[in-house]
């Protein structure tokens, strides 16, 4: 990866003093996963350019990390050796630390001199496109000159890659310009930088002192950092994804957020849980199954009500169960509360006799994650094998989708939804299931009731007929 820094300040070669790197020498510095080279392709009084070229050792990048990192193919072939993302920032911080700190022994007066500066980066990963580049650098006074890099000229239909070739120009003190680059380059980088340790992230944030708090996009800048700290996907699913030649996240999406706008979604999830809890209360259920409990949001509500004496949360995703366990703080609950709840893995397409004997089962936003062709197996597991007195099923009402402004027409609310049903479709399914398994069924809605398209969520309450 490459970054060049040019000034036309007179004499331009002052840049060498500021950077503490002699223009006529090539210097090399060891960094975490390779070597950072500094050299000057141009050094005249009119124009001086310093180049920072980082030679990543892709094999060393992975060595020693393999066993606890999940062995995904993406670790071995990735853009890190070429794209100027977080690693470049780390190298900047190391190689130009003195300059960034605003110290210059030989020419102290240069430190506070405002210089014309030009930064060229041939491959800058830029999540969100050049628009984000403008939002991040524009408010700081940089001029941005960017052109996207095509994904592959042999396949023009693939469009542009996530990289841009960019020239950033400003007139500023060098130390400040470097500190801004140091912070903002990783923000642009969409990839999780799992090789950066936590203390380095703290360093990055310190470099924002003096300008970050005033930056109109400071929210974006900080949240992107926090998001990136979540680390590499550990799950074994990554390996199964490799076996299939798909991205790990395509399989490991059990906890992904829905695609609809959060401001509409947030109260809906809460409303839905409240509706489910009150329906359970109405049914007089004490021993409750949460089938497909995910991250455990409903479980938390159930735990809060002592009338639910036994709660079993199951999910097929081991990762979801881990998250649920953490978010419920199971390890810190009192014994009395703790003994009311159990979490374990189960799959609704496999009959699980140990789910039998409960008063009620909840399938909250679950069925739409199961292929329609596999619903038969789920129905058997729930209505024939588990066979609780009450079964609550919630699922999106697809008629309502037109009311979600952020949802493109014809799209599902979540990328993993296998179907979304209209009210008529849901009722037809529910009637068939109820008749087949000797349950009675009634319907209700959750969320604002629109005269034309109904409520965003539909709920069926199944009641077992024989005692």
């Amino acid at each position: 990866m490459l970054l060049t820094l040019t000034t036309t300040h007179q004499p331009a070669t002052d840049l060498g003093y500021l950077l503490h790197k002699h223009p006529d020498r090539a210097q090399a510095f060891e960094i975490a996963a390779g070597t950072a080279h500094v050299f000057y392709p141009a050094a005249t009084d009119d124009e001086c350019t310093a180049a920072l070229l980082i030679d990543i050792d892709p094999i060393a990048l992975v060595r020693g990390k393999g066993r606890d990192r999940g062995f995904a193919l993406a670790q071995y072939v990735n853009d890190r050796p070429y794209a100027a993302g977080s690693m470049l920032a780390v190298a900047l911080g190391k190689v130009f630390r003195t300059a960034m700190g605003g110290r210059c022994k030989e020419r102290p007066e240069l430190v506070d001199t405002v210089l014309p500066l030009r930064v060229d980066i041939p491959a800058l990963p830029c999540r969100g496109g050049t628009r984000v580049l403008e939002r991040l650098f524009g408010p700081l006074g940089w001029r941005i000159d960017a052109s996207p890099v095509p994904l592959d000229p042999a396949f023009p239909e693939w469009g542009d890659s996530r990289y841009v070739t960019v020239r950033l120009s400003t007139t500023a003190r060098l130390a400040e310009a470097l500190r801004q680059l140091y912070v903002l380059l990783p923000v642009l980088d969409g990839v999780k930088h799992y090789w950066i340790s936590e203390d380095e992230i703290d360093k990055l944030l310190r470099a924002g002192e003096g300008w970050l708090s005033e930056h109109p996009e400071r929210e974006l800048i900080t949240t992107r950092y926090l998001k990136h700290r979540k680390g590499f996907v550990h799950s074994a699913l990554a390996r199964l994804a490799d076996a299939d030649g798909v991205d790990a996240e395509e399989l490991d999406n059990a906890l992904d957020e829905p695609a609809v706008a959060p401001e509409r979604q947030e109260p809906l999830t809460a409303l839905r849980r409240r509706a489910v809890v009150s329906a359970l209360r109405e049914a007089g259920a004490a021993r409750v199954l949460d089938l497909g409990c995910g991250g455990g949001a409903l479980l938390a509500d159930l735990l809060a009500e002592p009338s639910f004496t036994e709660i079993l949360g199951v999910d097929v995703s081991a990762r979801a169960l881990e998250v649920a366990e953490r978010s419920l703080h199971l390890d810190r609950l009192s014994d009395r509360v703790r003994e009311r709840i159990t979490l374990r893995q189960s799959a609704l397409t496999y009959a699980d006799p140990s789910l039998a004997g409960f008063d009620a089962a909840v399938l909250m936003e679950v069925i739409e994650h199961v292929d329609e062709s596999r619903l038969g197996a789920l129905e058997h597991s729930v209505f024939a094998v588990a066979r609780p007195a009450t079964v609550l099923v919630t699922t999106p009402n697809s008629e309502y989708n037109v009311r979600f402004e952020s949802l493109p027409a014809g799209h599902f609310r979540h990328s993993d939804h296998r179907f979304e049903w209209t009210r008529a479709q849901f009722h037809e399914w529910a009637e068939t299931v109820a008749a087949q398994h000797d349950y009675a069924v009634r319907y209700t809605g959750v969320g604002p009731d629109d005269a034309e398209v109904g409520t965003p969520t539909q709920m069926a309450v199944f009641t077992r007929k024989e005692s």
Binding site: I59, P81, Y82, Y350, A351
Partner: protein, 840 residues
């Protein structure tokens, strides 16, 4: 010298006061692991063998461990005083729970001896009064032991009897594991002698007749033996004739017979007990009344001596009249006998007044094949490795036998309706999809799968957990998923300049394994695909034309496109004449689906093309910058040449993935290259040579251009010229942008001295490997390090997955139930989640 007989699998309860020498006795006659001592368990739970306050916990733990042993059918000895009835009752109950026989061995020694022994032991501080109290309890107990439920009671009085006693383990009557057959298991006969004679004839038995011309025995020239599932008698026209023939066969060793409920009832009737004259017993009694008294006595003795079930063939075959769940196999108790005779009745009766039977076979998951009768059905059908052979001959149905181990059904029709059925014969009504329902227990947790070609393969719980998620959320219906392909190991690492993999190592490797003839198959530039095409999907218990799925069981295409593709596959199979030739209505193909971009398009764009874009944007710019510096006289020569070389590598990297991408619209552009017929009808084709498979693939290609041929070359690994030809074939293939080749033993499955030989190894092209190892892997410094890759785990994994896949196919084609097939398929997926270097 007293020999104490103990039935196999029994729970032996030692009874004796403290100091009577129970532990010494147990040590002398049983293995240490068979003996559960209360002292020892007190020590385990409380660090003190004599801490009486820990007794409750100690007995809890002891009972738990003893229960585990009994569940596994292991003789277990309880070493505790057991002088009180309440203590013994616990053990009798435990034995009954596990359907094993409780046995008591009483050590009745003089009090003085026991007191003296206790005095010698410093850790025993209780006085003589304790021993006296125990001794009184003991004396009171001895007489009541049989009444308490102990099936054998041995009392040893005095030290000399204790010292001279020996223990003999008796096998249970039902234990015939050493008899391995082959057998012909015959369903309910119910007095239909003529049909029985005809069936025996069909099965190849020669019938011998007595002086009166009655069939009185039968033997098979090949030494086969008949096994009667019970209900020889009642309802039919000639119960005495059937008994004469069956008794003769059993007495001469040509047959075994288990007891049916009708034999049980007949014995009671013959003994003058009051029985209801219903269900055809009146006919039997009338027919028998015309027989000489001697015959009646013999028949009574025969029926009375019948065992309720047999365990045969090393435990692989169980015969019981009404069937038997696995927990009861080889067990002896009233409950087991009752199940074997009457089945699992729910206590209700149906509209015909007949008992409603619980469909135990639907839940059967046992390893042994269970054959039984009792409930008349229209046809004998497999349900979870069990088969009911009562096809209602007496009601005008047929008399059925199953050849074992061939698992071939042989029937003869009833000559007439001999007895009007209370309710019409109907196919066994099966509760909702017995065979299609999989339970969590079929797959979750730690599992061991028994494979015929690679022994026992175990799956760890965390592997199963990952597989459960993928299987449950993404895979096609398990009924469409009878197989998953194994991973394939790469060839041993080459030490040649500039390459990591080279064909020479493949040829040398197979030569070392004793494989002379190998076939090199072009490695297609697509994704592994399994194609299940059905003309009739009855075997799979699901409607449809089949499925096309990936290595992890995910569907490749939308349902509509899958259907369209399968229609073309079926038409091609038809055109090639394969349905008839293979005598099948379905087949399973191992294939490659192209292009790779059809499945992995997003991955190619997001990962590979992105790397290419970043590299080709950054490196030429870096090269120019370095050239400018060099022109200024700065010494950057090394860095410049390395960067220029990397720029070239980046271009090569792009060139490597590009051939994998072409646009697909519907099925336009999609191609399938089948290279092996995995299975069809009742056959697995892993022993047909690869040339046969490839010829078959060529016939499909000729039938429909959606099929792509697989270029291949046969190489003699022992002939240098042939090896050189193989090398240059690979070189040409890969120089032209090809992915590489797979080298397989031409004979297909091959066993070497050290077990299975790798079914294939891949030799990937130098350029293709850039996609896997990164653009710059060919740089000497990188290559040297990459050569240290460890192939051991991958090779072991490849064999295990291969064996599991074959096992799935063997089970599928043998007609085994879904859960048995799915168990293997699921295990392959679980193996795939194992952390192995994904670049291999």
């Amino acid at each position: 010298m007293a020999e104490l007989t103990i039935p196999d699998m029994s729970l032996v309860v030692l009874v004796g006061v403290s100091g009577s020498g129970k532990s010494t006795f147990a040590r002398a006659h049983f293995a240490p692991t068979q003996v559960m001592s209360s002292d020892f368990f007190r020590g385990l739970v409380a660090d003190d063998e004599n801490d009486q306050s820990a007794s409750t916990d100690a007995f809890d733990a002891l009972g738990y461990v003893a229960g585990k042993r009994l569940a596994a059918g292991r003789i277990t000895v309880i070493d505790a005083t057991n002088v009180q009835q309440s203590a013994r009752a616990t053990w009798v109950k435990l034995a009954k729970e596990h359907n094993v026989l409780p046995v008591a061995i009483v050590l009745d020694l003089p009090q003085s001896v026991c007191v003296a022994r206790n005095d010698e032991r410093p850790d025993r501080d209780f006085g003589a009064h304790v021993v006296k109290r125990q001794h009184d309890d003991l004396r009171r107990s001895v007489k009541s032991l049989s009444r308490e439920g102990f099936r054998r009671v041995h009392v040893l009085r005095g030290q000399s009897e204790v010292d001279s006693a020996t223990i003999a383990i008796e096998p249970l009557l039902n234990d015939r594991r050493t008899e391995t057959g082959p057998f012909d298991v015959i369903g309910d006969v119910h007095g239909c002698r003529a049909e029985l004679e005809e069936l025996l004839g069909t099965l190849g038995y020669a019938i011998t007749r007595d002086a009166d011309g009655h069939a009185a025995g039968a033997s098979h020239p090949d030494g086969r033996r008949a096994v009667f599932v019970g209900d020889l008698v009642d309802r039919g026209p000639d119960t005495p004739g059937v008994l004469r023939l069956a008794m003769g066969m059993v007495e001469s060793g040509d047959a075994l017979a288990v007891c049916g409920n009708h034999e049980q009832k007949l014995v009671r009737a013959l003994r003058g007990r009051n029985v209801r004259m219903s269900h055809g017993i009146a006919e039997s009694l009338e027919q028998l009344s015309t027989q000489p008294q001697g015959f009646r006595a013999r028949a009574e003795e025969f029926c009375d001596g019948l065992v309720a079930h047999y365990v045969l063939d090393g435990g692989n075959l169980v015969v019981a009249h009404a069937g038997l769940p696995e927990a009861y196999h080889g067990r002896a108790s009233g409950r087991v006998r009752s199940f074997a005779l009457y089945g699992d009745t729910t206590g209700e009766t149906d509209e015909y007044g007949l008992p409603v039977r619980y469909p135990w076979a639907n839940e059967y998951r046992g390893r042994a094949t269970v054959l039984y009768g009792h409930t008349p059905t229209l046809d004998a059908e497999w349900i979870n490795n069990t088969m009911c052979l009562d096809t209602g001959v007496v009601f005008g149905g047929k008399l059925t036998a199953l050849r074992y181990p061939e698992r071939e059904v042989v029937s003869v029709a009833a000559h007439q309706v001999w007895y009007e059925p209370v309710k019409p014969l109907v196919p066994e009504v099966v509760e909702t999809r017995p065979d299609g329902v999989l339970t969590l227990d079929d797959v979750a947790g730690r599992r061991v799968v028994e494979t015929r070609c690679h022994g026992r393969i175990s799956v760890r719980p965390e592997q199963a957990a990952a597989a459960l998620e993928v299987m449950s959320r993404f895979a096609v219906d398990p009924r469409w998923l009878p197989y998953l392909p194994p991973t394939m190991a790469p060839v041993a690492t080459s030490s040649r300049d500039g390459v990591l993999e080279h064909p020479e190592e493949a040829f040398a490797g197979y030569l070392a394994d004793g494989v002379r003839t190998v076939v090199c198959e072009e490695k297609h530039m697509g994704s592994r695909a399994i194609v299940l095409a059905c003309k009739d999907s009855a075997r799979f218990g699901i409607e449809g034309a089949g499925a096309v799925y990936t290595r992890t069981g995910r569907p490749f295409l939308t349902p509509e496109l899958t259907e369209e593709l399968l229609a073309r596959v079926c038409a091609a199979v038809d055109k090639a004449g394969l349905w008839n030739e293979l005598d099948t209505d379905w087949l399973l193909l191992d294939a490659e689906l192209m292009p790779w971009s059809a499945k992995a398009g997003a991955l190619i764009r997001d990962q590979y093309a992105s790397v290419g874009a970043a590299a080709t944007a950054a490196l030429p710019a870096a090269t120019r910058t370095l050239e400018a510096a060099q022109a200024r006289g700065v010494d950057v020569a090394d860095l410049l040449s390395r960067t220029a070389s990397r720029a070239a590598n980046a271009e090569a990297f792009r060139a490597a993935y590009r051939p994998y991408c072409w646009p697909v619209d519907g099925l336009d552009g999609v191609r399938i290259a089948p290279f092996q017929l995995l299975a069809a009808a009742d056959r697995v084709y892993h022993e047909r040579p690869h040339s046969w498979h490839l010829a078959l693939a060529d016939r499909l290609c000729a039938a429909d251009p959606v099929f792509a041929p697989t270029r291949h070359l046969v190489v003699d690994t022992g002939d240098p010229e042939s090896v050189a030809a193989g090398v240059s074939w690979w070189t040409e293939l890969t120089a032209g942008g090809g992915e590489g080749m797979v080298v397989k033993p031409e004979a297909n499955l091959v066993r070497g001295e050290r077990g299975l030989v790798q079914p294939g190894v891949k030799v990937r092209g130098r350029e293709y490997l850039r996609i896997i190892y990164g653009p710059d892997y060919t740089e000497p410094a990188h290559l040297d390090r990459l050569r240290k890759r460890d192939l051991g785990r991958k090779r072991s994994l490849a064999l295990r997955e291969y064996a599991l896949g074959l096992e799935a196919l063997e089970r599928l084609t043998a007609g085994e139930p879904l859960w048995r097939v799915h168990e293997c398929v699921f295990a392959v997926l679980a193996m795939e989640s194992e952390p192995v270097d994904p670049r291999l």
